[in-house]
């Protein structure tokens, strides 16, 4: 069945509505995190249980993308009441079917409680985690069956496309996106509308529209969740963008690690074609557009747009000098527009709700919302979408729920390997493109790593640098050799073989690598080191002057003398009588950390 006009799309939506003859939706998260905790089995068990009670017509089990609150996964949400069960295990399914569906009572023990509180929360919207969030890019994630095009259409899917094709010229579309103030979510924060305009104006008939789904930032999974939970929105946005810039071919470059997502994308693309939403004469408008998927093969640098294009052409993913920019000469040497997945996910809503609506959200120069993956030493690990301008404090305490063991959070790292740290003194900073850069960090793709007082910042910097020099393409001198030298210096430092002079070398070298590298990877590679050096100089000095404590010790004021640590210590260097403070013989301690792990009152002090 081909949908050939706006009207036909409307009719289809109505028909979908009527098709929906079931009363209850059971949404089961099958995002990667929940899937890893066996949510697929939950689905199968639910389905067979419902069938055995002959409820399958009334109650429909829907596999959705990530709900966001992965730390509480696997989650199940039952609509229309919005009752949300958390940390559901296979054993719980029977209980849910018996009580919830047959007896109509909520299974209390599976409800969520805020930490330290006793009140059971039935609905996800009551949870602190969701309260300050605003889901724009993630609007459908966890709400619909991502592979069911009808579900998407029911949520006004493809209406933005129909609206565009029916009512707007390409220039008008570009104007709307420009007016909305949308900036690229892939890291750079370049105005999306402006980029489209540049590509549109580039001479040439053959143009390409590229979706960057490489998501290489280690510890970030925003794009994956969007593609997993709401792939049609990205497809729809790509068609709109193709129309705006004058491209008939779209490409999605996706990292090889995302095999499941790739399969899903292939399926939804086939579906969209079936309904005439991709291919020739889309929605009867005369506009042709189709999408091809290109696979990466494990190289972070391929997220950089010129490298990505090289990789799509079958070469080593080495960045090229800019200019020329992809908008001038990109894929196959033709003008190409590269946008990030999340950028695309925003497009359909902007079209439907208008530029003004979008521009009202956020701060003066950063409009709309941003999705972050909130991980590290934080209670509520997950995917979070907030309006630009939300403060870091709100992010980590209100939404994130603070430290899981109530320890002090000393800093966050934002922007991944290109970013930097922001220390607790600055947690009132509003998150937007410009204020982060001012702080020496950057938005990057939106990974936020929360670090507590135990985190060794030098080790963190070393971790990022290890990543960078591992992922450097090796083309240019400063990044190929410079980051290696920086890494060697850091390694020397943490092995207590360094010297104060090394700190100067790090700083100078870092600055020059930033200044002279060929691409964004090298140009930002020193950020994690430079920013931790700026905010935590004492941690570096402790290594450089070799005053760094390396052994564990016990805080006598906290120790309750439970003897657990003494039992755990593999070299038996902890002494103390029961119910009396214990003492570590530091000269024998091998810093294995076992005592730290077992102490019930956090009395052991990590070096």
């Amino acid at each position: 069945m081909k949908i050939a006009s706006y009207q036909e799309l409307k009719n289809w939506q109505k028909k979908c509505q009527n098709n929906k003859n079931y009363k209850i939706n059971v949404l089961v998260c099958t995002g990667t995190s929940c899937l890893s905790s066996d949510s697929q089995t939950l689905v199968e068990m639910l389905e067979s249980a419902l069938e055995s009670h002959n409820l399958q017509v009334e109650i429909k089990v829907i596999k959705t993308g990530c709900f966001g609150f992965c730390g509480q996964g696997p989650m199940i949400k039952i609509e229309p009441d919005e009752i949300t069960y958390v940390k559901v295990k296979v054993e719980d399914i029977e209980d849910i079917v018996e009580n919830h569906f047959l007896k109509n009572t909520t299974v209390k023990r599976l409800l969520y409680k805020e930490p330290g509180q006793t009140k059971l929360l039935e609905k996800s919207s009551e949870m602190q985690f969701y309260k300050k969030q605003m889901r724009v890019a993630l609007r459908n994630c966890g709400e619909i069956d991502p592979e069911n095009i009808e579900d998407y259409v029911l949520n006004d899917g493809y209406f933005a496309l129909a609206k565009v094709l029916e009512n707007y010229s390409p220039d008008e579309v570009i104007k709307i996106i420009k007016d909305s103030g949308l900036r690229g979510r892939g890291g750079g924060g370049f105005s999306t509308g402006l980029k489209w305009e540049l590509t549109r104006k580039s001479p040439g008939n053959e143009k390409y529209l590229i979706c960057n789904a490489d998501e290489g930032d280690p510890g970030a999974f925003m794009d994956r969740s969007i593609l997993e939970g709401d792939p049609h929105s990205v497809i729809e946005a790509m068609i709109i963008a193709g129309y705006a810039i004058g491209a008939n071919n779209g490409l999605i470059y996706i990292r090889a690690e995302y095999a499941l997502v790739t399969e899903r994308l292939r399926r939804v693309i086939t579906d969209a074609r079936k309904y005439g939403l991709l291919g020739k004469d889309i929605l009867g408008s005369g506009f042709d557009f189709d999408i091809e998927i290109k696979l990466g093969a494990g190289a972070f640098v391929c997220g950089e747009e010129t490298a990505l294009i090289r990789s799509m052409e079958g070469f080593r993913g080495e960045p090229d000098k800019k200019p020329p920019f992809p908008s001038q000469a990109g894929f196959r040497g033709k003008p190409s527009n590269v946008n990030n997945v999340e950028t695309f996910a925003n497009i359909p809503v902007i079209i439907l709700n208008g530029a003004e609506w979008f521009a009202k959200i956020g701060t003066k120069k950063s409009k709309g919302t941003k999705v972050f993956s909130l991980v590290g030493q934080i209670r509520n690990i997950g995917l979070v979408e907030v309006p630009m301008g939300t403060t870091i404090k709100e992010m980590i305490y209100d939404i994130g729920g603070g430290h899981p063991e109530e320890r002090e959070i000393k800093a966050i790292q934002i922007g991944g390997p290109s970013g930097g740290v922001i220390t607790k003194e600055y947690f009132d900073t509003q998150i937007d493109y410009d204020s982060l850069v001012e702080m020496g960090a950057m938005m990057g793709s939106g990974g936020i790593i929360v670090m507590d007082e135990d985190t060794d910042m030098v080790q963190i910097a070393k971790f990022y640098l290890d990543f960078i020099q591992d992922e450097s393409c090796g083309k240019c001198t400063p990044c190929r050799i410079g980051t290696k030298r920086m890494y060697e210096i850091l390694e020397r430092l943490v092995n207590m073989e360094g010297s104060p002079e090394d700190l100067n070398s790090l700083r100078t070298l870092g600055r020059i690598i930033k200044d002279t590298s060929l691409c964004g990877l090298g140009q930002t590679s020193a950020n994690p080191v430079l920013s931790t050096m700026k905010y935590f100089p004492e941690e570096y000095e402790a290594y450089a002057y070799k005053t760094k404590k390396t052994k564990y010790s016990i805080d006598p004021k906290k120790c309750v003398g439970c003897t657990k640590c003494a039992k755990a210590c593999p070299v038996e260097c902890i002494e103390g009588k029961i119910r009396e403070p214990h003492i570590i013989n530091e000269s024998e301690c091998i810093a294995c950390g076992s005592c730290y792990e077992v102490c019930p009152v956090n009395a052991v002090i990590k070096p």
């Binding site: 190289a299 640098v301 080593r316 080495e318 090229d320 000098k321 200019p323 020099q469 591992d470 992922e471 450097s472 393409c473 090796g474 083309k475 240019c476 001198t477 400063p478 190929r480 050799i481 410079g482 980051t483 290696k484 030298r485 060697e488 070398s505 100078t508 070298l509 020059i512 200044d515 002279t516 590298s517 060929l518």
Partner: protein, 584 residues
């Protein structure tokens, strides 16, 4: 567009300069006399190569407005741009990147083949590097000494990729590529194979553009020294045409100074017993080749006929187009002809045991080393040519022997295989062989004297050229290609049956042998090649005899020894065969 629209204004170190749109900062700076150091950059635009991937980062300069450092070799000037080449930031950037390169480099200058020819070394000098502040792990790869032509010491590679551009884009052989990534990345052959196991043609073009000692010709001078010092050996030298037009550059002469007489004297002083001219072989080659061509045309045999005097090109067709092995002429190259004749004709005449003769050729070419080692050219334990030294190696030997080249007198070649014509002289440049062959073929076919010997259409420096020559009622279609990428195009046409040439001259090196892999380094200065080329044409012009078949000693050779051109004996000694080789 009006010219005025194409011109833009910028300032470099506060000096204003107006340049055409598309000019790089480097070029603009040059215009106002400001030198910016470069390393990876190489501009051979005349041959269609510009290595401009801007990866060494030792040419960075500061954009005053943005305070960003930009690579001057690749960044184009925009209107109103203000550049500082010597701000502290720019200088530090350049120095540090060079230091980083050096921190991953074996500092073997004293014993390095490239010493004093090395761009990395001179840059370290130019930037006044006195200390390398960052030390650490260095590359550690085995050195490849297995091939007959080229040594590859990957540890000296600075990843500029000039060689990759050369081998892939210009020569389309594609033996080299960057492998791995990050600090481990390296420019190498597939799977780090030895060059001898690959389809390398030994054209040596990678060597001629490599700024460091990472790629160099195999050093054969020790073997030559040994032979020269062996009293039982009769050591004979031959000198190729292109050598005499370039060797002077190693001694401070201008490019294109012809120094034949000094080369002969130099070789005499080194202790060679006889010194012959490869040009003699060239004249002989022409006679054999022209005979073959006329035979192929008149008897409807395989056409076109391709010249076969360039061994890199022969290697190329054996690896890349094995199905076309019947198109090259079966003639040996001049070097091999002179070689085989010293071990037969000369040996007989002078009563010397061929086994005691050591034939050393001085060549502009790296591939000649591999040619001399070919199985087909080493029969019965006797090789036509024993050792090949390049122009550069000969210059080094002369220096080593403390010979003051500039003060050497002029001496003539020894007579037996020493006479040559102008036709042979132009063998050293692209187009020369086929021009020489045409002169002889014309007279062979028509039996009339050729009045105008200068075939201007065949000259020049474009990659592929065509010429039509009227010979009575035959219109001879001639094709010329230099650089293997251009050769590939002509070969594809032949394979696809789209070629209507009778004869094609192919030279592997851009420019022909004057631009050979064993010549003094031109460092991207194309003018040097043009001067060498001109010198050879001048040489031809000033020769009393300009057609190969007018070479009296050659004709005497046929009379005394070979019989007629194309005779059985000539075939036995002067022709060879080709075999299919695997492509890797």
């Amino acid at each position: 567009m009006k010219l005025i629209d194409k011109m833009i204004q910028c300032s470099i170190n506060n000096i204003n300069v107006t340049v055409e749109k598309g000019t790089t900062i480097l070029e603009a700076a040059k215009k106002v006399g400001i030198h910016i150091p470069t390393l990876c950059h190489l501009n051979l635009a005349d041959f269609g190569v510009v290595n401009q991937n801007a990866n060494c980062r030792v040419c960075v300069v500061e954009n005053e407005k943005t305070h960003r450092l930009v690579p001057s070799c690749a960044e184009e000037v925009v209107d109103g741009m203000r550049i500082q080449t010597d701000s502290l930031k720019a200088v530090m950037g350049r120095r540090t990147n060079l230091e980083l390169l050096l921190s991953n480099h074996p500092q073997d200058c004293l014993t390095c083949v490239k010493s004093l020819d090395c761009e990395l070394q001179s840059l370290a000098h130019e930037l006044n590097i006195k200390e390398i502040h960052y030390q650490g792990e260095k590359m550690n790869h085995p050195i490849d000494l297995t091939s007959f032509g080229i040594t590859k010491d990957t540890n000296k590679c600075i990843m500029c990729r000039r060689c990759v551009t050369m081998c892939n884009d210009i020569q389309t052989v594609g033996v080299l590529s960057p492998l791995k990534r990050g600090f481990d990345s390296v420019v190498a052959t597939a799977f780090h194979l030895d060059l001898a196991q690959t389809s390398c043609t030994y054209c040596g073009q990678c060597v001629s553009v490599c700024p460091t000692g990472a790629l160099a010709e195999m050093n054969d001078s020790p073997k030559v020294w040994r032979a020269l010092n062996n009293p039982r050996k009769h050591v004979i030298a031959q000198v190729a045409p292109a050598v005499r037009a370039a060797i002077g550059e190693e001694f401070g002469y201008d490019a294109g100074t012809i120094l034949t007489g000094k080369v002969v004297s130099g070789l005499k002083r080194l202790g060679f017993d006889e010194i012959y001219d490869t040009n003699f072989g060239a004249d002989l080659t022409i006679i054999e080749e022209a005979t073959e061509l006329v035979d192929r045309i008149q008897n409807n045999k395989t056409l076109p006929m391709l010249t076969s005097c360039c061994p890199a090109w022969v290697q190329f067709i054996e690896h890349q187009f094995p199905e076309l092995l019947d198109v090259p002429s079966s003639c040996k190259s001049p070097q091999q002809m002179v070689g085989v004749l010293t071990k037969t004709y000369y040996a007989e005449k002078n009563n010397v045991d061929p086994k005691d003769i050591v034939m050393v050729s001085v060549m502009p070419c790296v591939a000649k080393k591999a040619e001399a080692a070919r199985e087909e050219l080493n029969k019965d334990g006797l090789s036509d040519v024993d050792y090949v030294v390049t122009t550069r190696e000969l210059a080094k030997m002369l220096k080593e022997a403390a010979i003051d080249f500039k003060k050497l007198p002029d001496t003539n070649f020894d007579i037996l295989l020493g006479e040559s014509t102008g036709a042979a002289a132009i063998f050293g440049t692209t187009g020369g062989v086929i021009e020489a062959a045409t002169r002889t073929a014309y007279e062979m076919i028509t039996g009339k004297e050729l009045k105008e010997v200068n075939f201007k259409q065949m000259r020049g420096i474009e990659g592929i050229r065509e010429a039509k020559v009227k010979i009575d009622d035959l219109e001879l279609n001639i094709g010329i290609a230099h650089g293997l990428g251009n050769a590939r195009k002509l070969l594809e046409d032949i394979r696809d049956g789209k070629s209507d040439f009778h004869a094609i001259e192919i030279m592997a090196c851009p420019g022909g042998c004057i631009g050979g892999g064993g010549q003094p380094y031109h460092r991207g200065d194309i003018e040097i090649l043009k001067k060498r080329q001109k010198a050879l044409y001048d040489l031809d012009k000033n020769m009393p005899k300009r057609k190969s078949h007018e070479n009296e000693m050659v004709m005497k050779l046929y009379e005394d020894y070979l019989g007629s051109p194309g005779s059985h004996r000539a075939h036995e000694l002067l022709h060879t065969s080709y075999s299919e080789k695997q492509r890797i």
